[in-house]
């Protein structure tokens, strides 16, 4: 036990001598430990599980027609939902920051509710409203559109919440300067506002995409789970788990994880580049 005790004692001693070094050292260690316990080890276990049957089994699991169709549909519908989110999310953030209207605070608080509502309830509510017996004049229950709608519901806050603070801090003088130099509102938005928002939009879009890829609760009821039509990847792998084919479920998860990771890395690169340019 002497070595770990030493390691525990060290940050304290170091903190006295070099204050600046001590704080972040302890913080970094705690962050590492926490991330390991909560994120890294579980993810590593998923990857390990996916390879239990060997690479051939892994490949077989993800290249099966039904698995591939489910993943393709999930990726496409998630991308579409992200595009919708980019437009509507930015618009909502703009309205919340730049416009004044009665009840603005309440609307602002409403944005986060899709996070609070259990997703299975979200699916049920959407089905009750827009399904075969709903009051809406159309019935989109158990269709691909319904899947997109459920995903749009649960991912709504991401873009809004990442764009909003940036928009609030945005220096209005730049816009005013541009206007005084004769730029039309559209040009001001396209040349001044939008470039400043791109990193925030990208960050929100990345999170929304990752969330949509793995979403289960809100889509499992409303999708109808018809293979090759409305079956999403998470429901497909749920079936694999229920049929005791955990390796295949893990393999499909790994594909989704890698896709998310690549996209999030890209977004991270995009936003750091944007920040550097902003400075």
């Amino acid at each position: 036990m002497s070595a770990p005790a030493d390691a525990l004692a060290l940050p304290r001693r170091a903190a006295r001598g070099r204050r600046r070094r001590g704080g972040p050292a302890v913080g970094g260690a705690l962050a590492t430990a926490y991330l390991s316990l909560v994120v890294l080890i579980p993810l590593a276990a998923v990857v390990a599980e996916s390879t239990t049957g060997g690479t051939a089994a892994f490949w077989h699991a993800i290249s099966g027609a039904q698995a591939f169709a489910a993943m393709r549909f999930t990726v496409i519908v998630s991308l579409l939902v992200v595009v919708v989110n980019i437009v509507t999310g930015t618009l909502i953030a703009w309205v919340l920051v730049r416009d004044e209207f009665p009840g603005k605070r309440i609307v602002n608080a409403l944005i986060d509710l899709p996070f609070a509502l259990p997703t299975i309830v979200a699916g049920l509510v959407l089905l009750a409203l827009y399904g075969p017996r709903g009051p809406a004049p159309f019935d989109i229950g158990f269709t691909r559109i319904a899947v997109g709608l459920a995903l749009a519901f649960v991912t709504l806050p991401f873009v809004v919440r990442s764009v909003q603070p940036v928009l609030m801090e945005l220096d209005r003088e730049m816009e005013e300067a541009a206007t005084s130099l004769g730029a039309r509102p559209r040009t001001v938005f396209a040349r001044i506002v939008l470039p400043n928002l791109v990193p925030a939009i990208a960050a929100g879009a990345g999170l929304a995409f990752a969330r949509a890829l793995g979403e289960f609760g809100s889509v499992v009821l409303i999708s109808g789970n018809i293979p090759f039509k409305t079956e999403v990847a998470s429901v497909f792998l749920f079936g694999q788990i229920e049929s005791d084919n955990r390796a295949a479920a893990a393999a499909v998860s790994v594909v989704l994880l890698v896709l998310s990771f690549v996209l999030l890395l890209f977004v991270s690169w995009l936003s750091t580049r944007g920040q550097r340019r902003a400075r």
Binding site: A3, P4, A7, L8, L10, P11, P24, A25, G27, G28, A29, L30, A31, T32, A33, L35, S36, L37, H60, G64, A65, Q66, A69, L124, L127, A128, G131, P132, R133, G141, F142, V220, L221, G224, N225, I226, P227, F228, K229, E231, V235, F238, G239, Q240, E242, S243, D244, N245, A248, L264, L265, V267, S268
Partner: protein, 342 residues
Amino acid sequence: MQFMYFIGMTTTPKQVLFALTVLGLAVALAGCGDSATSGGGGSSKLSLVAYSTPKEAYEGIIPAFQKTPAGKGVTFSQSYGASGDQARAVIAGLPADVAALSLEPDITKLVKENLVAADWNSTPTKGIVTRSLVVIGVRPGNPKHIKGWEDLVKPGVQVLTPNPFTSGGARWNVMAAYGSQIVQGRTDAQAQDFLAKLFKNVVVQDKAARDSLQTFTSGKGDAIISYENEAITAQQKGEKLDYVIPDQTILIENPIAATTKAGPKAKAFIDFATSAAGQKIFAAKGYRSVIPALVDKQKYPDPPGEFDITKFGGWDAVMKKFFDPTKSVMQKIEAGLGVSTG
């Protein structure tokens, strides 16, 4: 992604060591917790781990058991969920004295892990606690005139059944449909073709039986393949649906078993649940009793072409042939849905 920067820039070997120490402590703590809670059996507290459908029945059976001499002072903890999930949870360490699951393969999983004795089904009721039939639920008044299985494969008939890979219970439905053909003298290949045709008419494959019923009552579909007890429960709750018992259908048998580490009270509870007193409570929820004399033949008629799972060599053989997720009859049928519809 900013956290990656954070770690990348500040981590030193000593910090990694520190992190590992924290991890080690956490794992050790988790380990202690595990060994402390995994006792369970022997005391007068019983952990019932069951699938969700009979929840209301057990909520009646438990207090009735506690009023008997054998059940005096016995307290219960109850866990309900999907049958397969419950079996996996028990294997992963969920304390259980009594396991009441929807189909035998889920108990077999526990037998393989030595959590349930291999002779669990040597009780007077052969390890079975409830019975039911696979039936066809229809809209009130049966507007599509659905009388039997053949009506479900007609063009334009929208059928609901849960997905047999996500729902253990849906496997009863598949075997009922398949068996209906075998009983009528068709060959294995013809019966498989029938299944394929049937699944072309399935418009929603929900993940579980209850979800499927929810979908049906929300207005989707002309017919739902379900269980007699579920249809009766739905009617009791005021849902508008009728059901027909097809001339050929499968007898559903749901198992119950005590775990190997359970005390004598677990057996006493199972004895009570399978006794006349316990079976009457199940019957009130629409189940068919495991005691034949208790079944009201007026309300629960036996269809002429009734069969059970032994007709196909038992669950072990059926699971392999029909429900293997990588290579089986149903896997091929599900994959075939992509071929015809693009």
